[in-house]
Amino acid sequence: MSRSTRWRSGSVRYAWRKLTNAGMLSLTGLAAFLAVVPLVWIVVYVASQGARFVSADFFTKLPTPVGVPGGGIANALGGTAILVGIACTISIPIGVLTAFYVADKPDTPLGLAVRFGTDVLSGVPSIVVGIFAYTVVVLPMKRFSALSGGLALAIIMLPTVIRATEEMLKLVPNDLREASLALGAPEWKTSLAVMLPAALNGVITGVMLGVARVAGETAPLLFTSFGNPFWSARLDQPIASLPHTLFVYAISPYKDWHAKAWATALVLMALVLSLNIIARAWTMIRQARLGG
């Protein structure tokens, strides 16, 4: 076979190559399809099971005892909002400031320790975090509380916030930092006035993803915020939450509570899903705007 004919489209070699290409492409397509099947399955199944019970009342009413029809999860919605609020109040300032330190001084002993610690922390099982919060808050206070639950969620959120912020800070062009310093701005001012605004969108995205993660956490709340069948906004009292309510309903032996569990699952899933979608849409819009 001469050089010129070897690559011709009619050759056996060429046909084989085309075939392998098609085969491999189909394989990757199949794998991608299999990967989305669980997601679609869960969404469809939960929606079909839960939608029957979801109504306006479900969002605004308190839970009813077994056998009493109606009732809702208003206390759990409010409780989750409060718990997530506490988690954000603790984790955002600490996480963002930590990220500034780590991004600026990655090679110092403390910087290395924090980076390693962040990785380890993100791998700690959430129930262990719950036990930790139980030990440091619940035991001394001698009661379950919203505060202890919020703290547990804050610890779980922290690595996400630190990582997202750090990644965004690293993307801020060094030019901007130098421009500010060359104008005589001190480092802290440069961080606050130039770095933070430039990284803000990433920080917001990171926080939203973190919230989406902790909003669905059950294990760390089992022995911290505990759960509460009534309205409560007090930080030193047990408080209801969506995942915990779902857990209680699901393990109960009652039929009507099972139905409520599905409905709660639907609400929780919709909440987490929309947080994720908003976070990603936000990033995409910002990127598109910066590109144009």
Partner: protein, 281 residues
Amino acid sequence: MIGQLVHLVGLTSALPSPGQSSDPADDLVKIRVADLNVYYRSFRALADLSVEILERRITAFIGPSGCGKSTLLRTLNRMNDLVPGSRVEGRVNLDGGDIYGPGVDVVDVRRRVGMVFQRPNPFPKSIFDNVAYGPRLYGVRGRELEDLVEESLRRAALWDEVKGKLHRSALALSGGQQQRLCIARALAVEPEVILMDEPCSALDPIATLKIEDLMRQLAQEYTIVIVTHNMQQAARVSDYTAFLMMDEERTGRLIEYGTTQQIFTTPRDRRTEDYITGRFG
């Protein structure tokens, strides 16, 4: 602050325009670099370098890539402090005071010695906020701030192009406009010296010409130091030229320093001649 500006303008108008006076004896030394050695960890980037930068003149640092001309420039406002492992020996005197001396406020050094970078780097803020950034750090507010922003933009020859859209994003400006905005931003803190690190290398020829014209105007009031790869540019705009080269250890050394006219017409060193005639580099 404005009063100070007006005072400066009044003072400089009586002085001869740059280029007229080519006798170094007439000029005041603004920055005196003596026996400067700069290290990045164990690597010696600049060795035994001494040079005098004259007030209200444009001094160009030229030389092949890696010869340390940017390092030298960034030593003049202590921007090299930001590079981990960098170390400076020797003296850099600004109006007689060593900027590396004990108790010197880096922030104040950088206020007095402004800098314009290779790539235009406006903040992702409005045009106004970019220029106002520096003055705001020093507490300038309100009417005074607005006046200062306008004044700075006028000096940077940008006012007429942006006066109607001060609150639009600076990123919407063209590259040349962005670079003049960066110059305006540097001028707004009323520096005495302006360092320019290849300010035109990212710009097209017309924008380059505008910046060069601007530099000539600014040299009536400010001391300007420019690093350039472009020898024609050095010849066009500068009053004095320093030629740097690296030795076998890749350490930058000053080969020759003199008036631009002398360097480009009668270089004393063989290496300078080779470089400016394009035999290497």
